[in-house]
Symmetry: C2
Subunit: 408 residues, 2 copies
């Protein structure tokens, strides 16, 4: 573990030699963190760089105890299969050499967790947001959680703080705007107070975008470049990853697929439209419509030999809306995989074969591609992992650099 | 005009010195072509590069007669307003120094046009696709059009061929797949025969994506980074530009917003769903539903003091569907502007104030942003301009480089 605490800084992208060095180093960190390469030869091939360029970067990061080099003889077995010469030394990023603080702001609670560049985590800590919680209470809670995390693990060098939150947000100003039904909390500057208090860069993004990125890096989407994460809790929304980046749109509001109106005579939605997808597919409406108190209860009902008729009717309406949503998302974004999350995994899993079949046979241009549907691998932790992932993405893209002797 | 014909070549992106040089030169070409900067100072500021770096690139391109340097004294007026010293020399790209061939494959015709990096064009030539047209006929038509264009303007150096086409397409293999109702044409390799015949790189993309990029470069979206182009001819689809790039998705099929089902008891759609947006909003259905033979006739009907009741009812249904479509597109992609095209401009223009108002008051998170709605500036030529634009984008991104003495 690197004992020295790095103080990172932000810089503008200028395409000079420094940019080049920084960009290639970031690419090496990314390739090793996300397991796209595990030795110098693979790095050179994956990044289309010379062995010399790779070696310069790897040696420098090794000297800073960020990269560990392991002779394969130190590993178990497999020596017999090397055809000739010594096996290449395996490279890995040292656990906790580059680490981030993850904050997840939910409607009724705030969580904090330390995560490193390999996706290792420390146990999260959660505090409730009581009914009287206001802006000051929220920020005090966040700050206390971060202080506790740092005090508990004082030797872990932190390079940034990522915050995932219910929206709407101004992700550029790092402000929480005006989420509906959110205690007495609205119009909160998240970024500046944390940056001032902790002297670390702070990034903010909505929970769906964060979850999507976390699945790309550490969850169900590690083999993909283009994925859609659909979340179904209090609202329905999507986090879209296109070409390994979050699709933000102009104001950071892209992915609100829950507010596509799919029925002109459907019930009114607070957004002003009628029959929005969200009204048929969000978690609390499913429970209300089936009369179940929880997803455990609903799962038990559905496991019965003859589930009640009204439950089946309600599930039919739910599945019809899910069909429309998933075809709409497939046609709008054309992802490689679609991940369903932010909902009881045992419940959603039972419908996945049908949903995947329907979507793939009803999306336009079907027959030319197949979109895989899978449940979230990170489940309820997706958004918390995602908070850290938005910081790591800045490292991988060279926007957030580690101050090394040679610059950065 | 540069008299020498450049033979460009493709190369892999490798982040070495050559990449840097190429990347910065491409950025200069892009900034000048798209009027983001017009002298060395503005270039340095816009691209965050040193004056020295800019001068090296500018001088090299000037020596190749690609950049023209014009003293402001040669321009009209404005001298009085320069506070001190000589005014900076204006830079511009020489007309027809970097040029492309644009091919647009439509359902009943093929068009060909020469375009340069500044968006200047030569008059297009169009050939019909008769009922008996098959794959061979299509490719012979395209090849003949290109030969004619080159013979007509033999001194214009061409760097690539762009093809925009009705879909579905495999844009990566450069194949036209199986468009519905497309003569006897299906499964056509577009790329290889043209590359072999003309020794030029060929790019293929669908008409909506091409139109969107053309509007970004030369049309209604030049001030934007994130836009949605909605087209309403035989089908309804979208071209999405996010962060100045086409949003393709995994297979190149993104943007098919015409096949979002907005009415579960609507008419059946050939895609397999019911009540798809396309059924209510595509050009031919509007005419059929209002009983008008053409948009000229429909416009005349709507200009009457008391248009027929059934026409108004039909228009009401059309507008309701447009509302749902545009809110869905705003919520899904969060663009800065939305461009309506591939339809009679006089017809669509009359509804734009209502559409813009409805969308901006019904999209989620309204109040935090305003999306402007505008008619296509390139109108029926958007897709043809777009064919050239997908080649220029490769130049701007450094993927397609001009072979210069110093490499590229």
């Amino acid at each position: 573990m690197a004992q020295e605490t790095f103080i990172p800084h932000l810089k503008k992208t200028s395409k000079n030699m420094q940019f080049l060095k920084n960009s290639n180093r970031s690419a090496v960190l990314c390739a090793l963190a996300l397991k796209k390469a595990s030795n110098r030869t693979e790095l050179a091939s994956y990044l289309n760089l010379t062995r010399m360029a790779i070696s310069n970067i790897v040696n420098e990061l090794r000297d800073h105890a960020i990269i560990l080099e392991v002779s394969s003889t130190e590993n178990e077995g497999e020596m017999d299969h090397i055809p000739n010469g010594r096996p290449p030394k395996q490279l890995m990023l040292a656990d906790w050499s580059i680490s981030v603080i993850c904050i997840n702001i939910r409607r009724y609670s705030v969580s904090c967790m330390l995560m490193d560049i390999n996706g290792n985590t420390k146990p999260p800590m959660t505090r409730c947001l009581p009914a009287h919680a206001d802006n000051a209470f929220l920020m005090e809670t966040v700050i206390k959680l971060i202080e506790e995390a740092r005090e508990t693990f004082p030797k872990i060098p932190i390079i940034g703080i990522g915050v995932s939150s219910i929206g709407p947000l101004d992700i550029y100003q790092k402000h929480l705007l005006n989420p509906p039904d959110f205690r007495n909390i609205r119009d909160v500057d998240i970024g500046a107070p944390l940056e001032e208090r902790f002297h670390l860069p702070v990034y903010l993004d909505n929970d769906m975008n964060c979850s999507a990125l976390a699945e790309l890096y550490f969850g169900a989407g590690t083999a993909c470049r283009d994925l859609v994460f659909l979340g179904f809790s209090a609202g329905v929304g999507a986090g879209i990853i296109m070409n390994e980046k979050i699709l933000h749109g102009f104001g950071g509001f892209a992915g609100e697929v829950g507010h596509i109106s799919i029925n002109p005579i459907g019930p009114p939605c607070p957004c002003g439209q009628k029959g929005c997808i969200e009204l048929y597919t969000r978690g609390e409406n499913i429970l209300e419509n089936t009369g179940a108190a929880s997803f455990e209860e609903l799962n038990a009902l559905l496991d019965q030999e003859n589930p009640p008729r009204f439950v089946l009717n309600s599930i039919k309406q739910y599945i019809d809306a899910m069909h429309t949503l998933m075809v709409a998302a497939a046609n709008s974004y054309d992802p490689n995989i679609m991940i369903l999350g932010d909902i009881d995994i045992a419940f959603i899993k039972r419908f996945i074969p049908d949903l995947e079949e329907y979507m793939n046979s009803h999306m336009l241009n079907h027959g030319y591609k197949h979109i895989k549907v899978i449940p979230s691998a990170l489940a309820e932790a997706a958004s918390l992992y995602g908070a850290g992932s938005i910081v790591l993405q800045r490292v991988f893209e060279g926007e957030l650099s580690l101050p090394m002797p040679c610059g950065g």
